[in-house]
Amino acid sequence: MHVSMTVNGEPVAREIEDRLLLVHFLRDHLGLTGTHWGCDTSNCGTCVVWLDGEPVKSCTVLAAMADGHEVRTVEGLERDGELDPVQQGFMQCHGLQCGFCTPGMMMTARALLDRNPAPSEEEIREAISGQICRCTGYATIVRSVQWAAAYEASQAVGSSA
């Protein structure tokens, strides 16, 4: 079947098998390998991307379901050569070790901050609770998201002054 969608702001169109999962479409067909795959059961969240601005597990979405929609992946977080504050936060606060869960965690974190610019620790933990990190123990991920929130708050103060 034929699908066309917008991925990180770029239009793409491909012939695909009906059953192709979005995660494999992104990775194998578009070469966007920053989105990972880690389980068979929608438990791990290494595959999280945005579909029309909402985080989804791309292992549980058919590429066909994204037809006509907008997808954003970790490769689309950096804008104009500038890292998103979430990306910076993860680097600053050691929010990653092996880096395998990181793209999914960052996509969820970005979506959280867009809705809630000053989340509490509990809100951050709740937001990433559908995702697994086997390396970090989560505390540094929480701090990374807090760093990004604080950074954005400080930028906002700066620009309104």
Partner: protein, 797 residues
């Protein structure tokens, strides 16, 4: 709750610290990872690449009657199907394990565990390869399985390993350590003896990236390149050369970025061998990536020890002896990855951190119809089991004596003046200040106030528990006189080149799976040479580009390769000193080293930097007599002893009286890993291990039904902690350098995985103790805690 907008950024981290050497430093690997530009195995796409999938046994024990692959072969996208019989023709149906046993690559005669590899299909894409598996028809004749290790040696039990000549039972090995008679004598005379059956259930490392590889055999050059999820690329290359008869210089093993290892990626799995065979046969690159259930049911598990612990003491709390009998379940093949002379890994450190008069362990290992493995999940070669045993039994003793568990430990810890301390099982602990670490942990957590709070809560009917563990780790395998894996000595090479402009490249044999080697090792060289870490490139994970060494597991990277990196830098510095003496026209003895430069003693104005020296070493003009040009060196570091990190952990839990649900409220971890290279990375290693500990203590277990069906074959059934199950960790540290390590570092990778499970279980048992509970086995799920609360704790197996 902190409001973020008001919190200044630098309260989170110190951004500006860019140490030339040790200290907090942001990781060099992170810029690629946060952009999604890591390069993991499944990211590799090669022209013409085919995909492989593995057909696995649905039975735990069955004879293979026939395999019909004709329908699969007729599939238009399928390129090949390979069975055990096909491999047998090439002499490749069996391969050695890392414990000198053999393991089937593809089953020929029987399947011996559910999930065992039976056939492979190779196809044009990953979906078609999976489709092909459904088209392979295998007829099995089911056999009775051996699932319960306690029944494996019963007369008449089905014999699993009838492939081994003359094998008539399921006995795998016996092992003992310590002095049986001396220990018996101490127990006979002791005022108090406590014993307890303790199970360390089978668990699984489950790294977020599963195992896999891309094999690419190039016919014309005869060169095989294998990108693979390996924690030990050099050891794997040599083993492939020995198994497949390929010339070693024609094999290149590359470990690209790896999505977590935890020991799961130490063994060689049948899938790797099959992908190599497929590439050789089809003359195309072949990719194989496991799915999650394959990872959980077939790759290296961890633990599975059934232990009986006994402890002898005086009535006033002097611990005299520890004794244990262990039944070890090794699954269908002995796939343990441990030094050859240590079939039980380093379980011999079960004497813990205490000054004992005697100790003895007797172990029997058996085969069962379960997946092979045995050493994985950051277990530090079985020290997880050893520490759990001793820390649990010490708490049982405290209960018997009516003594505070902290007080009992403080009475018995090895004193600083006793180091180096030789244990009753022959391990030489290098250095330690144990009491200092335990007192720090107790201060940090506010131990006395917590006990008061607990008493108040108990009076209100609430269930709060406080658990302590003290552990001594033994890492950095190892001295080659004692330690080898399949005959390969456990020493590590390292090469360092300083380029003419003073930038450097250091080549390591060890491989990172998230531990931050690209940063830590640059810092080690930076500390020795005064070159900024940003100017030092760390090359690792590619056998064509790095010197030989045994790989990253058992927390050995810093103890062994970290030492190698320091030693090679010192060798470079020694040469630089000679060049500097020529440049400054003084004798070598008149030079002194200030980080990054040689100066003339007593003449502060005269000095040359390491960068000046590097340029000179390659430049025009003569060098001091007898010196070759260039600035590089290589070493192969053979550790003199293991290093012995230690720590004191305190855990506070609340147990829900209505549901048995355990909540870890607080956790304080004080670690001593000797010299600290990068605080940030060390803290991350500890956090990860503590989370593993919560998983094992409360959630994780690979379970089987009586048919040998694996009941934990997905992340829906095998529960791993999420952000909601773990607290915000509190860490602290003391520093007791290793006396024999070149930089005094001891390793930290597994300390928390080793130390945290007993602290958590001790806390839960403490919470349940008013109900008369002295022990309950992991994982302490609500159901198991509930059973314990009702007075009938159920063992997990």
């Amino acid at each position: 709750m902190t409001t973020l907008g008001t919190r200044p950024l630098d309260s989170f981290v110190d951004n500006d610290q860019k140490p030339v050497g040790y200290g907090r430093m942001l990781r060099k690997e992170d810029p690629r990872f946060v952009r999604g530009l890591g390069h993991y195995c499944d990211d590799i796409q090669l022209p013409g690449m085919l995909h492989m999938a593995i057909l696995r046994s649905p039975y735990a024990h069955a004879r293979i009657v026939s395999i019909d692959a004709s329908a699969a072969l007729a599939h238009p996208k399928v390129k090949a199907v390979v069975t055990g019989a096909d491999l047998a023709e090439k002499g490749l149906a069996w391969m050695p394990t890392l414990s000198n046993d053999v393991q089937a690559v593809l089953a020929t005669d029987k399947v011996r565990f559910q999930g065992q590899e039976v056939a492979i299909a190779v196809a044009e894409d990953r979906y078609a390869a999976r489709d092909a598996l459904d088209l392979i028809d295998v007829e099995y004749e089911p056999l009775d399985p051996v699932v319960d290790a306690r029944r494996a040696l019963e007369p008449g039990a089905p014999v699993i390993r009838d492939d081994l000549e003359g094998k008539a039972d399921n006995h795998c090995f016996d092992w003992e350590t310590g002095d049986e008679a001396a220990t018996q004598a101490v127990f006979d005379a002791a005022e108090v003896v406590v014993s307890q059956d303790i199970v360390y259930p089978r668990v699984h490392p489950a790294p977020m990236e599963t195992c896999g590889c891309v094999a690419d055999y190039e016919r014309v050059s005869g060169k095989l390149t294998l990108w693979t999820t390996s924690q030990a690329p050099h050891a794997h290359r040599t083993l492939y050369a020995l198994v497949a008869g390929l010339p070693e210089h024609k094999i290149r093993v590359v470990s690209p970025d790896i999505g977590g290892g935890f020991g799961n990626k130490v063994p060689i799995y049948p899938g790797y061998v099959c992908a190599i065979v497929a590439s050789l046969v089809l003359n195309k690159p072949v990719k194989w990536m496991e799915d999650r259930s394959e990872n959980l049911i077939s790759t290296g598990f961890a633990r599975d020890y059934l232990m009986r612990g006994e402890i002898a003491a005086t009535r006033d709390g002097k611990i005299l002896a520890v004794r244990t009998h262990v039944l070890a379940d090794h699954g269908a093949f002995n796939g343990t990855a441990a030094p050859v002379k240590y079939p039980a890994g380093f379980f011999g450190v079960f004497t813990g951190s205490y000054d004992l008069e005697a100790a003895y362990c007797k172990m029997t290992a058996v085969y069962t119809n379960k997946a092979p493995g045995g050493v994985a999940y950051a277990c530090s070669f079985r020290i997880t089991e050893a520490v759990y045993l001793v820390e649990r039994i010490v708490d049982c003793l405290a209960d018997e004596l009516g003594m505070d568990p902290a007080e009992l430990r403080l009475r018995n810890l090895i004193r600083p003046d006793q180091f180096p301390y030789t244990t009753k099982t022959g391990w030489v602990y290098d250095s330690g200040e144990y009491e200092r670490a335990l007192r720090l942990a107790m201060d940090m957590v506010g131990y006395d106030e917590l006990r008061k709070e607990q008493a108040e809560r108990r009076a209100r009917g609430e269930m709060m528990g406080i658990g302590i563990s003290f552990f001594t780790e033994a890492v950095g395998a190892g001295p080659r006189k004692d330690m080898d894996i399949l005959g390969l000595g456990m020493a590590d090479g390292c090469e360092l080149t300083v380029h003419p402009t003073g930038k450097a490249v250091v080549r390591l044999s060890v491989q990172t799976q998230g531990q931050g080697h690209e940063t830590t090792f640059a810092q080690i060289v930076a500390e020795e040479l005064g070159i900024p870490p940003g100017d030092i490139e760390v090359v690792h994970g590619d056998t064509d580009q790095t010197p030989f060494g045994l790989g990253t597991y058992g927390s050995r990277s810093t103890p062994v390769s970290g030492a190698a990196a320091a030693m090679v830098a010192r060798k470079v510095r020694d040469k630089a000193r000679i060049i500097a003496s020529g440049m400054l026209e003084v004798s070598v003895a008149d030079l002194e080293w200030e980080k990054g430069a040689f100066g003339v003693k007593g003449d502060p104005g005269k000095s040359v930097t390491i960068q000046d020296i590097a340029l000179r070493s390659y430049g025009a003009g003569d060098l001091p007599e007898g010196l070759e040009g260039g600035l590089q060196a290589e070493v192969c570091y053979n550790p003199e002893n293991l290093t012995y990190p230690f720590g004191a952990y305190v855990c506070v839990v609340d147990v829900d009286r209505g549901t048995g649900q355990v909540k870890v409220r607080r956790f304080v971890a004080v670690d001593d890993c000797g010299t600290r290279i990068n605080e940030m990375i060390i803290e991350g290693q500890v956090h990860g291990g503590l989370t593993d500990g919560v998983g094992m203590a409360l959630m994780e277990m690979i379970a089987f039904d009586e048919e040998g069906n694996c009941l934990s074959a997905s992340l829906m059934d095998y529960l791993i902690p999420t952000a909601l199950e773990v607290p915000d960790w509190q860490t602290g540290h003391t520093v007791t350098p290793s006396p024999h390590h070149p930089i005094g570092a001891k390793g930290i990778g597994e300390s928390a995985t080793v130390g945290s499970p007993p602290a958590i279980v001790n806390a839960v048992v403490d919470a349940l103790s008013p109900m008369g509970v002295r022990h309950a086995d992991m994982p302490l799920t609500p159901a198991r805690v509930w059973d314990a609360m009702q007075g009938h704790p159920t063992p997990p197996v």
